[in-house]
Symmetry: C2
């Protein structure tokens, strides 16, 4: 069950993105209790401290809420979750367009490049 991580980004940061995705995709539902720090650490194949760091940051983003001794829960704030759903692909597209323009491809040619790539693969 241990996840795979890229080496170009801190593991805790990658975990943050993964949990964000779980919430956005509904794998974690609003109000749902998520596994304990220790269990998540095992599930992701990382040290509990690394997992703790990721979860703490997710709390600062109001995506999770820690109940001192009963566990950690996904936010009930559906606005926040709806925001996530839109924010994630938006960020991906934004950085994609920047990267493409950065390598000399003009905006109106980007679509063609994508279509051609899809056709070829």
């Amino acid at each position: 069950m241990s996840k795979t991580f890229s080496n170009n980004m801190p593991i805790y940061a990658q975990i943050i993105d993964m949990v964000k995705l779980s919430i956005a995709l509904g794998t974690y539902t609003p109000g749902q209790k998520i596994p304990s720090v220790r269990d998540l650490a095992i599930e992701y194949g990382v040290n509990p401290n690394t997992m703790q760091k990721a979860l703490t940051k997710l709390e600062e983003l109001h995506l999770l809420r820690a109940e001192r001794t009963s566990g950690r829960f996904v936010t009930l704030d559906t606005d926040v979750i709806e925001g996530l759903k839109k924010e994630i692909p938006k960020k991906i597209i934004k950085s994609f367009l920047q990267d493409m323009e950065n390598c000399g491809i003009k905006t109106d040619q980007i679509i063609e490049h994508v279509q051609q790539y899809i056709a070829e693969n």
Copy 2:
């Protein structure tokens, strides 16, 4: 003249990509002598050691060639350079499509999302 770097990737790795881009875009022409390690370090606003590391890796990729005491030069191999020009946008598109599918957007909807984003911005 000091460049800006993201914090989620080693600086030397980001420099590699930047120099690759310079070669692909023709800012650095085939056979051209590029600035010394020390000068490039100043230009990029990093430590000479960091620049050295990036340049050494670029040599392993056969994009640069070090002439022991006269300087460092861009490869004359136009095939390698042509390869770069195609490889860079290809990699960008590939990881973009992966990211989009990863967040639940199907291939045939990706183009629409991009078009909508462009229209909105």
